[in-house]
Amino acid sequence: MLEIRKIYHYYDKAKALEEINLTVEEGSLDAVIGPNGAGKSTLLRVISRLEEPDRGKVMFMGERIDELEAYQIARKGIAHCPERRKLFYDMSVLENLEMGAYSLKDKKKFHELLNFIFEIFPRLKERKKQRSGTLSGGEQQMLAIGRALMANPKLLLMDEPSLGLAPKVKTKIFEAIEKIKHEGTTTLLVEQDAVLAMAVAENIYVLEEGKIEIRGTKEELEREPRIKKVYLGI
């Protein structure tokens, strides 16, 4: 479904991504793990074209998309749930969700999605009318995910959904991610917390200093001594 070929990205002269090759198959949940500053967010931003890659191609459902603009990519069915939530803080929870459904034409689908989101995040339903800036960190993350889902995406990009959350809340978020996976939404997840990511993902990429150092299925990576030591702490 998503195919990234030889992507390079620089911030001015500083290299952030180097020869990235990555494929996400339809229906799967894949994860990119790596330390802070590895280039994980940059990778997602390049896919959704919030950042323009310097070289390489991004293919989505057989079509080249790296030359489109961000809003066009969103309309193709790629939803980006950005790092640090980036909500519309002055708007209510419901308005945020409505904005997420901006390019969705189908009214019936809208209500279906809304119900699904309220089902996986009952908290949001209770706080429908509340201004999103006043939500707790965990609730804001739920809303960010909900807003991305409201676009009924074919591909969901999630950037560090566990960032800055208490362990209990992290677990809740990842339970929701499992449910989203069951619904069949193809997802590319970026996460520092390797334990959490590896618990849900099928294929895993380890990104270090802008390069993919190790790749493999969950089982393969669990056998890698270096992964065990550095990322899983066993």
Partner: protein
């Protein structure tokens, strides 16, 4: 061209191109929301800000019935005209987050073009004013396109630069024959012999402008504006063509600022290059700040405080020395600084919170 800049330019250009491909969905469906709007208007009247606004308006309507004093009329007309101007700034800055410090450009163009059509073509005021406002839309586009990629203080400076350019252009002696230089356009005909006709004309235009602006910000397109203001990246990622909607905001705002400029020319029956001064942009900002940002109706209250209360309060002191005539401006500048430092929600909001509670209490809420 460096890659980043190139991509920015091409983004802006293609965004602009798409813009012309048709009226956006959100704008087309505006009329469908009218019943809903009427309902929320009824609710609004009984809110604190709503009744305050209505009170300001009723007071304004009553005055000509009591006195037709030219001086008082002029004050009231200034209040009406500048409330539209302030509201147009509020739409762009308060709702869409595009803080312009060059809003006088729209005001000035609206005033000049309206004056030119009245004087040279002999058109009626109403049509000249509309033409002036349309010219301001075009200027909104011309300014909007290069300024779209600027953010925060850079946008403020960029728009300010445009007002400086226009001020100097209209001042220039070389273009005297076309633009009138320092004298501008003067000795414009009055709309009617009776002062009261002009007054009510301006009042009606003002009320209509506020109704339209309120409908816009309360509708779908207003929500899109707010989304862009709150987080442009997230708006982009939600599939909103932010370039297009920022341009729309510039144009709507330009239109109403242009209307205000036309009415200003109608009232003073003359225009000169000073309408492009940063001072006028500053007026808009102060009035919105006083009345509350991102409220539209707050502009009525803000303009009332500035033109009727503050200005009149210090006018008698003008006799003591001309320096006192600058007092309202000075005080507003101070208020603005204090507000930016301490109360980014507008000064009225916190200060009148208590009065509001009392008001709610009176209504038994």
């Amino acid at each position: 061209m460096p890659k980043k800049i190139r991509s920015k330019v091409s983004n802006t250009v293609s965004g602009t191109k798409n813009f012309f491909l048709g009226i956006p969905r959100a704008t087309r469906n505006l009329y469908k929301e009218i019943p809903h709007q009427v309902k929320s208007f009824k609710e609004w009247i009984f809110t604190f800000r709503g009744s305050l606004t209505i009170l300001c308006l009723i007071g304004t309507i009553l005055v000509p019935l009591i006195t037709m004093d030219d001086y008082i009329m002029t004050i009231l007309i200034s209040f009406l005209v500048f409330s539209i101007f302030a509201a147009s700034w509020d739409l762009l800055a308060g709702y869409t987050g595009q803080v312009s410090f060059g809003h006088s450009v729209f005001f000035g163009i609206g005033a000049y073009v309206a004056a030119a059509f009245v004087k040279m073509a002999g058109l009626p005021w109403f049509f000249s004013m509309i033409i002036g406002a349309v010219a301001a839309i075009l200027v909104g586009l011309i300014i909007g396109i290069p300024c779209l990629r600027l953010k925060g203080p850079y946008l403020a400076l960029g728009t300010q630069a445009f007002s400086l350019i226009l001020f100097n252009l209209f001042m220039s002696g070389e273009l005297k024959d076309i633009l009138g230089s320092t004298e501008g356009i003067s000795a414009l005909p009055a709309m009617s012999e009776a002062h009261i006709v002009t007054f009510f004309f301006i009042l009606i235009i003002m009320v209509i402008s506020f109704i339209i602006l309120t409908i816009i910000v309360k509708s779908n397109i207003g929500t899109i504006f707010k989304a862009i203001r709150d987080d442009e990246t997230a708006a982009d990622a939600s599939g909103i063509n932010t370039t297009k909607y920022k341009l729309i905001a510039f144009m709507i705002s330009g239109f109403f600022a242009g209307i205000a400029g036309g009415l200003f020319a109608l009232n003073s029956r003359a225009v000169n290059p000073s309408v492009f001064l940063a001072l006028y942009s500053f007026y808009a900002i102060v009035m919105v700040a006083l009345g509350g940002i991102a409220t539209i109706s707050g502009s009525v209250v803000g303009a009332f405080i500035y033109w009727v209360i503050l200005t009149e309060l210090f006018k008698p002191m003008g006799a003591l020395g001309t320096i006192f005539l600058y007092f309202p401006t000075l005080i507003s500048a101070l208020i603005l600084i204090i507000m930016i430092r301490f109360a980014d929600q507008g000064i009225l909001k916190p200060a009148l919170e208590h009065i509001r509670e009392f008001y709610d209490f009176l209504l038994g809420r």
